[in-house]
Amino acid sequence: MASFEETGPRNPVTESIRVDKVHPRARFLDNARAIFVLILALIGLIPVLAMGLTAFKSRADVVAVPPKIAFEPTLEGFVFLLTERSQLSGTKLEEAKANADDLGLFGQIALRNGQRINGPSDYVTRLWNSLIIAGGSTIISVVLGLFAAYAFSRFDIPGKDDLLFFILSTRMLPAVVVTIPLFLMFRQLGLFDTHLGMILLYTVFNLSLTVWLLKGFIDEIPREYEEAALVDGYTRFQAFYKIVLPQAATGIAATTVFSLIFAWNEYAFALMLTSNNARTAPPAIATMLGRGGIEWSAIAAGTLTFLIPVVIITFALRRHLLRGVTFGAIRQ
């Protein structure tokens, strides 16, 4: 029976799974379906591809009508995005052209437009802020979430279900609803527009996710392992540290990445609770258009640098995706 289930033809049969032969029509339909889905997926990714193309277009190619599919790729967009430039003229331009060999790749690209690079742009600072804030908050929220998840998974806690639901519900609050009082609080405490304030906020914002996800992962580790360790004389903390943590490693990794992505993508809080010092990349990209001669190619370049890590992570995490986006409420 079991061997039949493993080897028997299951998928391609259309009407009844009790038929042993695969009808040619069923096989054809199956292939047609696969191709159809592939085409749908590719159509769905057109915007992402368009953005990728635009990032490597020159200023003129971006606004070409109709949009160019084939063009000469250039890193102009990235240069515009990442550097602060000034226009050169007359003798200075000649001088700069004479010394062009000393310039780096970005410098030469800027020179082609008659510009000299003065230094990194604001956007580089914004990216750094994003990295610091997303990284810092992720580390804290995963560590705290791990402790809380372990406690929720292993100990009797009065009102456990209500507490867990409360933790989940904090995530469902619209950002704008909490931001008004938070803005006043942060201003009072001197946390407005600081890295510390944003790290704290994102930590809390992600705690509901980390607690729920990690609780799910820890629930799957048999209690007996720790109980055996306790009998052998381990303390509770040793058992947690030496038994549970290594077992939950995959889950912790997945949780870390999810929390990193959410913090990395966050826009509303950052827009309202930062101004210049701690502003992260998403609100910066959104307000970049039309300021200081920033072009679409630069926006596209910024978007692309933002999207690539997320796309890679999506692939790396595809087994845990369902859990991650439903806070561990649903497991595959």
């Binding site: 259309t14 696969a34 705290l144 809380a148 008004i180 826009y267 509303a268 978007t303 595959q332």
Partner: protein, 323 residues
């Protein structure tokens, strides 16, 4: 041999029956230490602000004025409810939520049915389909703004509009130069659907995969038609997950529509795409900084969201009992 094992289990039994009081205490202590920081942070940064803004919603207060909040009772709520612009904005938000969630549900279901059975490379293709939902909504909004550009955008090009003066200008709600109200809202809804259909698909797919085969086998023996099988087996079996998908999406449509709309239109043209989250932002952080009134509006949004979630959850529970 057997006696040795017996004595060991006895020891274990004694230990678990009469736990070492010191270890029991330390377990409790560890439990509290482990949970404490999380709860404190949640209360400080989520619960306290909510209470604070409840107070603010009953006051006349502006965060940039140098004055203390003045208690005004229900005036803010009355003003919000009697403001005709507010009703327009709620109607826009309602349309946005209704249409985007409905479309996501239909398309997500269809997609899930398509990728339900494995085929060569189905894992890869499914992951490709899932990419949009992992992206940052505001960045998505921004790059769709480029896509929708009336002259050099890809959307009009792919739809075959070669003459820019005859083509729709999506985000300005103009079709060949004529104002076409609703176009911008639909443009935003399309992006929301593009971004979140994968999420609905993922949930429904997990529901489909959990349906036991024997249900279909039994139906096949009874010579039930494919149509009948769909209505009587597939649909009822995935309904709970569908409800969860709708719940998540409805709440998120209130939340994340902010990022998307800000990235694409900022609420324009006029107030055509202004969803309530954008209004809140504008009231609280721009112009007059009407903190008190914005708090009142925020509370009303919160109540709507809680009411909708309650309705869904109750429905979900009833369905679980019925099944």
């Amino acid at each position: 041999m057997s006696t040795v094992i017996k004595s060991q289990t006895d020891v274990a039994k004694v230990r678990s029956a009469q736990p070492n009081p010191r270890r029991d205490l330390s377990d409790k202590a560890i439990r509290n230490i482990f949970i404490f920081p999380t709860l404190v942070l949640l209360i400080a940064i989520n619960v306290f602000p909510l209470v604070y803004s409840l107070y603010l919603s009953f006051t006349n207060y502006s965060a940039i004025a140098n004055k203390q909040p003045v208690w005004v009772g229900f005036e803010n709520f009355g003003r919000v409810l009697s403001d005709e612009r507010m009703w327009e904005i709620f109607s826009t938000t309602g349309q946005y939520v209704l249409f985007s969630v409905a479309l996501q549900l239909i398309l997500g279901f269809a997609l899930a049915m398509l990728v339900r059975d494995k085929f060569f490379g189905s894992g890869l293709v499914t992951t490709l389909i899932l990419v949009p939902m992992m992206l940052s909504p505001v960045v998505v909004g921004l790059f769709w703004k480029l896509m929708y550009n009336p002259t050099f955008g890809y959307v009009n090009y792919l739809l075959g509009f070669s003459n820019p003066s005859l083509a729709p200008d999506w985000l300005a709600s103009r079709w060949a130069g004529d104002p076409t109200p609703g176009l911008a809202l639909w443009a935003v809804i399309i992006v929301d659907v593009w971004m979140w259909t994968p999420f609905v698909m993922l949930l429904i797919l997990s529901g489909l995969k959990a349906i036991p085969d024997y249900l279909y086998e039994a139906a096949a023996i009874d010579r039930a038609s494919a149509w009948f099988q769909f209505w009587r087996i597939t649909l009822p079996q995935v309904t709970p997950l569908m409800m969860i998908a709708i719940l998540f999406r409805t709440i998120e449509a209130f939340n994340k529509s902010f990022d998307l709309v800000m990235g694409m239109t900022g609420g324009g043209p006029g107030t055509q795409t202004e969803v309530v989250a954008v209004t809140l932002y504008k009231q609280a952080f721009q112009g007059q900084w009407q903190t008190g009134r914005a708090s009142a509006l925020a509370y009303m949004v919160l109540i709507i969201i809680i009411a909708i979630s309650n309705l869904y959850i109750r429905n979900l529970n009833r369905m679980k009992e019925g099944a």
